[in-house]
C-alpha cells in the first residue's frame, strides 16, 4: 500500500471530503427527524472512509456509479451539495430535478457519474458495460461501482462478476459490507465470513480492507484501479464497516445490538482519520476545526439554497420519458 502514499495536502483534502460528508449527514438526519424532509433519506454515517477513499482513487475520466451511502464519492466527482440537497427536497434544482428520490438516480454523465436504481445490484452490470465500452474503444479508463453485503446474494452479482472476468473488464467493485441488509444480519445472508473470497470463484483478485481506515481503503482501491487501467481486469474489494443508523431514516434499527454500534463508534472513520493526521504531525486541532467550520458553512448554504429553490412544474411531468 505504500506504492500509493498520499501527500499531506492530499490527506487534508480527503479529510475535508470526509468531514463534509459527515457534517451533511448530521444536519440532514436532524432535518428529517424534525419532519422537515420530503420522503425518505439514507444516512451514510460510518461509510465516509469508503466513499471518499474509493472515490479519491479514480481519475477524472473514470466513471463511477455510487449508491445511497456514498455521498463522498458523488461530491468528489463534482456534484454540488446544493444539487444534492435540492434533490432531497424534490426541487427543480436537484440533481435529477425531482424525478428520482433522495440519492437515487443521481447521475450526471458530464461528471462521469451513473445514477443507481433501487434494484441492487443493478448498477453492477451497468458499470461493467461502461468498463466494456472502454475496452471497445481502447481507452485507459476504469469503471467503479458499489454494492452492499445483502445484494451479493442476488444472482446478478454472480452473473456480472463472471462476465467481468470473462471480458477482463476494467471494473472495480466495492462491497460495502456494513453487517446488515435492512434488518437481516450477515449470518442470515451467507455462510462465509468474507465476501471477498467469492472473487476466487471468478478468477479475479478479491481484497479485504478495514472500511473505516480511509488510507487503507484508498490504497487498496488505487491499486485495483491502476491494475484495471493497465489491462489487468476486474477486482472485488470488500470494505468492512458498520451501518451506524437504520436502513433509512424511518428505521430505528432496534434489531442491531447496541454494543455492536458502540464498538464501531469507537472506530468512527472521521475521528479515526483525525487522530491519524494528528499523530502523523500533519495538522493540528486548529486546522481541523477550521475545516469543520468550513463544512458547516457549505452545508448550511446548500440547505438555504434548496429551501428557496422552485419545485418542479407539474406541467413537465410527462417530459423526458424519451430522449428526443
Amino acid at each position: 500500500m505504500s506504492n500509493y502514499s498520499l501527500t499531506r495536502d492530499q490527506k487534508l483534502e480527503i479529510y475535508y471530503w470526509m468531514r463534509l460528508t459527515r457534517t451533511f449527514d448530521d444536519i440532514a438526519v436532524a432535518y428529517w427527524k424534525q419532519g422537515r424532509g420530503v420522503g425518505g433519506m439514507f444516512s451514510e454515517r460510518g461509510h465516509e472512509a469508503i466513499s471518499v477513499g474509493t472515490g479519491y482513487a479514480l481519475a477524472p475520466e473514470d466513471v463511477v456509479a455510487p449508491l445511497h451511502r456514498d455521498l463522498g464519492c458523488y461530491l468528489l466527482r463534482g456534484l454540488t451539495l446544493r444539487r444534492v440537497f435540492s434533490n432531497l427536497l424534490g426541487r427543480a434544482t436537484g440533481t435529477n430535478a425531482g424525478r428520482d428520490a433522495n440519492m437515487h438516480g443521481s447521475g450526471d454523465m458530464s461528471l462521469n457519474l451513473v445514477g443507481f436504481i433501487s434494484h441492487l445490484p443493478q448498477t453492477v452490470p451497468v458499470a461493467l458495460g461502461v468498463a466494456m465500452s472502454f475496452v471497445y474503444r481502447n481507452e485507459p479508463r476504469v469503471a467503479m461501482t458499489y454494492i452492499g453485503d445483502g445484494s451479493t446474494s442476488a444472482g446478478l452479482f454472480h452473473e456480472t462478476l463472471n462476465m467481468a472476468a470473462v471480458f477482463n473488464a476494467p471494473l472495480v467493485l466495492i462491497v460495502e459490507n456494513n453487517q446488515y441488509a435492512y434488518s437481516t444480519p450477515l449470518v442470515q445472508q451467507m455462510k462465509i465470513p468474507d465476501i471477498a473470497t467469492r472473487a476466487a470463484g471468478y478468477g479475479i483478485p478479491g481484497n479485504i480492507v478495514e472500511g473505516n481506515d480511509v488510507e487503507a481503503v484508498y490504497a487498496v482501491t488505487k491499486e485495483a484501479v491502476e491494475r484495471a487501467r493497465a489491462g489487468g481486469g476486474p477486482t472485488l474489494i470488500e470494505a468492512k464497516t458498520m451501518r451506524m443508523m437504520g436502513h433509512a431514516i424511518h428505521d430505528g434499527a432496534e434489531y442491531v445490538p447496541r454494543e455492536l454500534l458502540a464498538e464501531w463508534e469507537r472506530k468512527n472513520p472521521v475521528i479515526l482519520f483525525e487522530q491519524q493526521l494528528l499523530a502523523q504531525g500533519l495538522t493540528d486541532q486548529e486546522e481541523l476545526d477550521e475545516i469543520k467550520h468550513r463544512c458547516e458553512i457549505e452545508v448550511t448554504d446548500a440547505i438555504e439554497y434548496a429551501e428557496k429553490a422552485p419545485l418542479p412544474d407539474p406541467a413537465t411531468v410527462e417530459q423526458g420519458v424519451y430522449a428526443e
Partner: protein, 344 residues
C-alpha cells in the same frame, strides 16, 4: 466482397441494386445489421452464440465475426439479466448495442435490466440508453411454451421503451435501422414464422421505416383488421378469401406498438366502422385491448359494430399441433370472425 460460407439467401447489397431483388425476412434483418455496422463504428452486436463460425441460433449474424471481429460481435455468457445491464452501460457511453435475445421467451430473464434501469433512465436523470433488443418471437412452429411467446404487452406497458414488430422484409430492415438510430431503448420483435417463408422486395442500402408509423397493408371498405407481426400475413390471406365473398377488408399493419399510430388506427376505424384486432399474443390485456380502447374513446360514433379481438388463449402456448392450432390465431379464424363482424 467474399462470399459467406452459407448465405441463407442473404444478398449483398453492393452486388444487387435492382428494384426487383427479394430477400427473406431474416435476410433483411441480417442485411440491416451488417450495413449499419459498416456505417457506424459504435454499432455492435451481443448475445448468446452469435459469434464465431456459428452466427446465432437463427444464423442472423453468420459471418459477422469474420467481417467485424470479436470486439464487435460479443458472444455472451448465459446471463441475460447481466448482459442487458452491460448493454445499458455501453449505451450510456455512446455505443449502440444490438442485443440478440436468443428467443423472445427468454427476455423475462432480463426484465429488471430492461424495465427498471434502461427504461426509466432518461426520465430519471437525462442520460439516453440507445440499445436495441432483437427478440425472436411468435409460434406456430411446434416449439412449445418456451420458444413461442409474444411478450410485447409487458414492454408496451413500460414507460421509456419503444416497441416495434415488423411484418415484411422491407419493414424488418427499415425498422431495425430506425431502432438502432433511435436514442431510446427499443424492443424489436421479429417474427420467427416469417423468417424464411416471407420474401419480398427490400430496398438496397440505407433507408428507415420511421418508428410510430403504421402501414395500410390493404385498402378496403367493409371492415378493418388491425394487426401486426406474423398476423399481418394471416390477415392478408384472410382478406383474399373474404374478397371472394364480396367482403372488402382493409388491413392496417401497426408496425410500431409503442408509440401507437393513433391517427392511422382512428382513420381506418372511422372509414369502415367495423374493426377486428388480431395478434398472436394472448388476447387478455394484450396490445389489442389498448387499440380497442382508443377506438371506443375517439371513434365511437363511427362504429357500426362492437370492436372484436382475436388473440391467443389465456394459456401457456401448447406444443402439440392440434393444441397449438387451437391456441393461436390464423387466417381461417380471422375469416370466420370477419364474416360474423361483416354480418353484424
Amino acid at each position: 466482397m467474399s462470399q459467406l460460407p452459407n448465405n441463407f439467401g442473404f444478398a449483398d447489397p453492393e452486388q444487387i441494386a435492382d428494384t426487383t431483388r427479394e430477400l427473406t425476412y431474416i435476410a433483411a434483418i441480417s442485411e440491416a445489421l451488417r450495413e449499419e455496422m459498416r456505417r457506424d463504428p459504435n454499432v455492435f452486436v451481443m448475445g448468446e452464440d452469435i459469434g464465431g463460425t456459428f452466427g446465432g441460433a437463427f444464423k442472423v449474424t453468420k459471418g459477422f465475426t469474420d467481417e467485424f471481429g470479436e470486439k464487435r460481435v460479443l458472444n455472451m455468457p448465459m446471463a441475460e439479466l447481466g448482459f442487458v445491464g452491460a448493454a445499458t452501460g455501453m449505451a450510456l457511453m455512446g455505443l449502440r448495442p444490438v442485443i440478440e435475445m436468443q428467443f423472445a421467451d427468454f427476455i423475462s430473464t432480463a426484465f429488471d435490466s430492461i424495465v427498471q434501469f434502461a427504461a426509466t433512465n432518461h426520465y430519471r436523470w437525462g442520460a439516453a440508453v440507445p440499445w436495441v433488443i432483437r427478440a425472436p418471437s411468435d409460434g406456430g412452429l411446434r416449439s412449445g411454451p418456451f420458444h413461442s411467446q409474444n411478450p410485447e404487452a409487458w414492454f408496451v406497458h413500460t414507460p421509456g421503451l419503444k416497441v416495434v414488430a415488423p411484418a415484411t422484409p422491407a419493414d424488418a430492415k427499415g425498422l431495425l435501422l430506425a431502432a438502432i438510430r433511435d436514442d431510446n431503448p427499443v424492443i424489436y420483435f421479429e417474427s420467427k414464422p416469417l423468417y424464411r417463408s416471407e420474401k419480398g422486395y427490400v430496398p438496397p442500402g440505407d433507408y428507415v421505416v420511421p418508428i410510430g408509423q403504421a402501414n395500410l397493408a390493404r385498402t378496403g371498405n367493409d371492415l378493418s383488421i388491425i394487426t401486426y407481426g406474423a398476423q399481418v400475413r394471416e390477415a392478408l390471406t384472410a382478406a383474399e378469401q373474404l374478397a371472394v365473398e364480396d367482403i372488402d377488408v382493409e388491413v392496417l399493419d401497426l408496425r410500431t406498438l409503442k408509440p401507437l399510430d393513433t391517427e392511422a388506427i382512428l382513420t381506418t376505424a372511422r372509414k369502415t366502422g367495423k374493426v377486428l384486432i388480431v395478434h398472436s399474443a394472448n388476447r387478455l390485456v394484450g396490445v389489442g385491448a389498448e387499440v380497442a380502447a382508443i377506438i371506443s374513446d375517439q371513434a365511437f360514433e363511427w362504429l357500426d359494430a362492437p370492436i372484436r379481438r382475436l388473440g391467443g388463449l389465456d394459456t401457456p402456448i401448447p406444443f402439440s399441433p392440434p393444441l397449438e392450432d387451437a391456441y393461436r390465431p390464423n387466417a381461417a379464424k380471422i375469416v370466420q370472425m370477419a364474416k360474423e363482424l361483416a354480418a353484424f
